[in-house]
Symmetry: C2
């Protein structure tokens, strides 16, 4: 039986689980891959740290020695970040080694360069773990739905923010308190910016958009808003309207045939399949022309679930090494343009604090009409001389809506625009 030698870059949360599972599942992996998969070298930053289950003699701090080792067939990259991960992967590919990576940040930024290097060397570059952790979503998009036309993807792809929003929804707490709780329980990092401000979700949105629409999409193409401005009142109002607020990574084909790709909080109906995705779970909702609506649900992160996805890719590559062939290459033939965010059409829910006197609704309605933003429902609540208007619009462009909001905030009768939230997923 052939033996395939694996070098791993990084041995942290994910890497340590990969190392453990390569031993624990050895017999099954061998039978399934048709080859022995052997971990022969592991690069880390600190060689003095004891690594459970990884013999000391495998450990090195010289990652370059791994990607340049002619005895190594496959590389797993689980260092994360751009540098040195990028240079290491490029060297590995150039040296004819197939690579599995979980590095969404790198793929979203410099994917094209990596795919080109893989194509040139005619080796595999797999990255199922980079989006939604253990949930098989990239392979289904790239292979199962390849005969179909994806119309839209809406994903809950960041566990930290979904955990925070679930807590806000369940207990009515403010954002800051829910964040604190998430940090105490290890669901959020000390510096939560990448998660909370949607950077992590934006990386995943870029990867999903590129695969779904056979075009090149980078993190820079993604319009991004985080959840730090969501208030307890926003959540309460959503609840009263039988909706829930989720941070969504959305990519869809516009009427003009361009790619809209964005990350922002949005209201969705409690009946929408994504609404019941709670805590740190992830889910990706896909609409395709022929297949219709689908959802893929599961664990979006964690060392062991992520390792499961990496091992799936590893076996796929091993099978190619044994029985020949190579996985599907990057597909960017469609080369669609990115739609400017201003042209994105969604419904909006706008909350306004207004003076409670006659004519206010009329003047507010006038501003909406002036920008051709059509109103679906208005609800007015109020006590004393203050009132609140909750306006739900029909589908409108972002630019028309922004102009409307600007004019509303200048209206004498409007004390302030308390919140503006998108409404997604009309079913």
């Amino acid at each position: 039986m052939k033996s395939l030698k694996v070098g791993m870059l990084g041995c942290g949360t994910v890497g340590s689980q990969i190392a453990r599972l390569l031993v624990a599942n050895k017999a099954d992996l061998t039978s399934r891959a048709g080859a022995q998969i052997e971990l022969v070298k592991v690069a880390v930053r600190d060689a003095k740290v004891k690594r459970d289950g990884v013999p000391d003699n495998l450990i090195t701090t010289d990652a370059n020695s791994i990607v340049n080792d002619p005895n190594i067939d496959l590389i797993i990259e689980v260092i994360g970040g751009i540098s040195p991960a990028k240079e290491l992967i490029l060297t590995a590919l150039k040296n004819g080694k197939s690579v599995v990576t979980a590095n969404k940040a790198l793929l979203a930024k410099d994917g094209a360069e990596l795919y080109e290097a893989a194509n040139k060397a005619n080796v595999d570059l797999y990255y199922e773990a980079a989006v939604a952790g253990a949930i098989p979503i990239l392979r289904p998009l790239r292979e199962s739905l390849v005969g179909d036309q994806v119309i839209r993807i809406m994903g809950i792809v960041n566990g930290t923010t979904n955990y925070i929003l679930t807590k806000m929804d369940e207990s009515g707490t403010a954002f800051a308190d829910a964040l604190k709780q998430a940090q105490d329980l290890g669901f959020a990092e000390a510096d939560p910016t990448a998660d909370v401000e949607g950077f992590d979700a934006a990386d995943k949105a870029a990867i999903l958009a590129g695969l779904a629409f056979h075009s090149r999409v980078t993190d820079k193409d993604v319009y991004r808003e985080g959840i730090s401005k969501i208030t307890a009142t926003d959540v309460k109002v959503a609840k009263a309207m039988e909706m829930v607020i989720k941070l969504l990574a959305i990519t869809e084909l516009t009427a003009a045939g361009e790619i809209s790709v964005r990350v922002h909080p949005a209201l969705i109906s409690r009946n929408h399949p994504l609404a019941s995705v709670r805590e740190s779970y992830n889910a990706v909702f896909v609409e395709a022309k022929s297949a219709g609506q689908m959802m893929f649900y599961g664990r979006g992160a964690g060392g062991e679930p992520t390792a499961s996805a990496v091992l799936g890719d590893l076996v796929a590559i091993a099978r190619h090494k044994i029985s020949g062939g190579i996985g599907p290459k990057e597909s960017d033939y469609a080369s669609l343009k990115i739609a400017p965010i201003g042209q994105t059409k969604t419904k909006y829910l706008i909350r306004l604090n207004v003076a409670d006197k006659p004519g206010v609704l009329e003047s507010v309605a006038h501003v909406f009409a002036a920008h051709s933003v059509s109103i679906q429902t208005v609800r007015q609540t109020g006590a004393g001389d203050k009132a609140e208007l909750i306006v739900m619009t029909h589908s409108s462009t972002e630019s028309a809506l922004s102009a409307t909001v600007k004019d509303l905030s200048n209206l004498p009768a409007v004390t302030d625009v308390a919140s503006v939230l998108r409404v997604e997923g009309a079913m």
Copy 2:
């Protein structure tokens, strides 16, 4: 650019959609497959029927001429049933043609013979459409989760029965009325036996079990109960307990390392992700050791969704033809045994009509204890001299439970055992 010639066997609900989409998506399919995919011959029973979008000169009633045509590279089989589908597929494989089929009945019965023929000829045999229609579930099991250990699969894999159970749950109607409604709306066939009695779901359970546990599992291995005995009262009682009744295809690894594979109605909590799968939608809930809990949701049937899955397989095979290699072969190395149904452990909900007099509960409890079936809760309701006992057991073997039920029905105080239902999916 290379051209791949496709012959299709059958042009009914699914086949006609495949033919249409091969034309409608031609440019994209070519770019994605790296080859022109050309439908060159279509076998049907009645050549005189006009087939929308299929030129008359492609049609033949001689299916054998297609599988023996040396100019044809790939075969799609969408005739259904065992014969002549089986002979045609075997001939095609023997002639070195890769095959895509949606034929769950054939795969569940004679899969092993087909896989062997495909292996021998070193060609691909793909069948994503055979289970849960458009939902990518077989490829994720076979490829994405190949580095993991599947523990359990619970699927709603039959749209007809899910539609009927949804109607019974929503409107409290009896089974017969809900079935009639489903037939009127085209969700159930005139002879609904295959769906309603669980035969269709059992075929899918066998396919899922084989893939998940790397063993050979056939339709005969599947324990099967349908939904025709589910009453409006069962549904009402479930509702009162915040549960819902679903027809589940279940396969799991037993403590003894055997495969339990079964299809039967079961109560699940309304909080379980499968509970919200309504109407004719399908979903497959998978638990794996490392990846944790996952769910795959979408359209389980229909001409166009099913065609989407077939085309995905077709492009995968086309890519192999172009860039070499072959998909993963049948994996049956584990050769696990099938666990007898008597050893299957689940919780049960049992409703008994009893005489409302002192000592009844004691005598009932005695019967459970005699068979070591431990009771979790009992609820007694009653009026006049009649009462109802609703007993929820702890996890118990099927054989102990059957013996208990038999003794209960012989108990003088028990008028009748009104219903016995399994409870699944404790989360």
